[in-house]
């Protein structure tokens, strides 16, 4: 269970850590198996993610995946962000141990949940 240097760097200096006070979209997801948590807040304008901030509780892969995710999606279109895959996140960390793939899954799930919530709120507004 050795972690890559990039992985460790994400742990030591998390990218985009924190919370956006008046976020356009947010989600907090819990991995029901192990209790790990990921919270994501986003500023969105013109269908593009302007800022992304994350908070995470749990084992190191969850922290690192949150960091990699938040860094990666900043500047992406909503569509692109919705398509971010586990593999992309794992790649950004130079790989994840086989048993720790669940952390990337949590990250993917959280960003989609946040974007779904955003879409729903748009929908509500239109209505």
């Amino acid at each position: 269970m050795t972690y890559s240097d990039i992985f460790k760097d994400h742990l030591a200096s998390p990218r985009n850590a924190g919370e956006i006070p008046d976020a356009d979209a947010s989600a907090e997801r819990i991995n029901p198996v192990c209790g790990d948590r990921l919270r994501l807040t986003l500023l969105i304008s013109d269908g593009r993610i302007e800022r992304a901030r994350f908070l995470a509780y749990g084992c190191p892969p969850t922290l690192a995946c949150g960091s990699a995710l938040a860094e990666m999606i900043e500047g992406m279109t909503i569509e692109a962000a919705r398509c971010v895959s586990r593999q992309q996140i794992a790649d950004a960390l130079d790989g994840l141990p086989a048993r720790k793939q669940h952390a990337a899954a949590l990250a993917v799930e959280t960003v989609r949940a946040a974007l779904d919530a955003e879409r729903d709120s748009d929908f509500v507004m239109v209505k």
Partner: protein
């Protein structure tokens, strides 16, 4: 980078003096202790000397010491060796909830094969109660196996009291009840005396006391009979087959001798630094809990739960700054495994996941501890800043302040 090793409960470096004692037995004095010729006799004599030293460390006799491959094998041989031998007399075993995985695993495996296991609680101080042992005793109980000191929180269990209980039972005519204790963590860190403890079996591992990994011993009180587990050859008076690991055994003996001679210095030294560490952490880091009984514990170990964060993240952050510690929680195979030991103290999952074990050694220095006190608070703070649990708690506390115009709640 400065490196500070505070994981001496996982393993210890081999003492230079021990390395020197062992090296000749790798090279010139390489005989097999079972050989009749000069090389063999030289090895045999060295094994005998080492066996005496190991025996002296725990006030046993040399022929009560079975040398084997480590603490895990000692626990396996003790438990399976006894219960298989007396399976016709009873199949009930009493153990605790905080045993090392070797004892826990063997008991679990025996349970699947038809034995009944009672696992005693340890309450919030991490200590088994004698009354619980007494209450758990049944006519078909053949073995009590409770560790002398716990590996994760360092609490010392009342083994001498259990030994007295077993002897009382024997005095009443009970013949098939034995007491085993896993003293792997205790040896070299507190006085261990099989006469004081009154145990029938006691496990030791060399690599916890500055000798190499892969060698250990089981004390088997004379007259106690075991079903051997590793069969072959006549070694160890038929109790454990296999060519004796002469160099490792010699090292074990040398380390045992040093542990005996230096015991009180080591205890004083480690306890002073450990207390310095705990005072320092308490002063610098809020929202922590010390785990385990405050006094009835080993002198070298401190187990602290850091709220809002998970242990492995802290461990890796400390490791990146050269500080080696361990955590009982291990998020492996995708399932939550908060430390079962900390859970047994009645703490919630968050506390169990956020626990860190600092275990000092005889060579730990004041500077080592100062360095830890420098880097640890920052590492905790950084992880907490990331933690949604912490942010939620901050928000809650802010409400309290706002509502009640009160100061921040004290560390929980």
């Amino acid at each position: 980078m400065r490196r500070v090793y505070l994981d001496n409960s996982a393993t210890t470096p081999v003492d230079r003096r021990v390395v020197e004692a062992m090296i000749p037995y790798l090279t010139e004095k390489f005989g097999n202790a079972s050989s009749v010729h000069f090389f063999g006799q030289e090895a045999r004599a060295a094994v005998d000397r080492a066996r005496r030293e190991v025996a002296l460390l725990i006030n046993a006799r040399p022929n009560e010491i079975v040398l084997l491959s480590g603490g895990t094998e000692a626990n396996n041989l003790a438990i399976r060796g006894i219960v298989e031998n007396v399976a016709d007399h009873g199949r009930h075993i009493i153990t605790s909830l905080i045993e090392h995985s070797a004892v826990r695993g063997v008991c679990d495996a025996l349970e699947k094969r038809g034995w009944e296991i009672t696992r005693l609680p340890v309450y919030d101080d991490g200590v088994v109660r004698l009354d619980d042992v007494r209450a758990a005793l049944r006519p078909d109980t053949v073995l009590i196996t409770v560790m002398l000191a716990n590996n994760e929180i360092g609490t010392i269990q009342p083994i001498a009291e259990m030994g007295a209980l077993v002897r009382e039972e024997r005095a009443r005519g009970r013949r098939h009840l034995w007491l085993h204790t896993d003293a792997v963590q205790a040896a070299g860190r507190m006085p261990v005396d099989v006469e004081v403890l009154g145990c029938d079996l006691l496990s030791l591992s060399a690599h916890k006391l500055y000798a190499p990994k892969g060698v250990g011993a089981l004390f088997v009180r004379r007259s106690v009979r075991l079903t051997p587990q590793n069969i072959g050859g006549h070694q160890e008076r038929e109790r454990r087959g296999g060519t004796e690991a002469v160099p490792s055994v010699v090292a074990f003996g040398a380390a045992a001798a040093l542990a005996r001679e230096e015991l009180s210095q080591r205890i004083d030294h480690m306890q002073r630094l450990r207390d310095h560490l705990e005072t320092g952490v308490a002063a610098r880091v809020p929202d922590i809990v010390f785990n385990g009984h405050r006094t009835q514990r080993l002198p070298h170990l401190s187990n602290i739960s850091f709220r809002f964060i998970e242990g492995e993240g802290l461990l890796i952050n400390l490791d990146m700054q050269g500080v080696a510690v361990s955590t009982g929680s291990a998020c492996s195979s995708g399932s939550l495994e908060p430390s079962p030991i900390i859970r047994a103290l009645g703490r919630d999952d968050e506390m169990a996941r956020g626990s860190i074990r600092f275990s000092l050694g005889k060579d730990t220095t004041d500077e080592d501890i100062d360095y830890v006190l420098e880097v640890l608070p920052r590492a905790v703070e950084n992880l907490r800043r990331l933690s949604p649990l912490y942010q939620h708690a901050l928000a809650d506390r802010a409400c309290v302040v706002a509502d009640e115009k009160d100061v921040l709640a004290p560390a929980i």
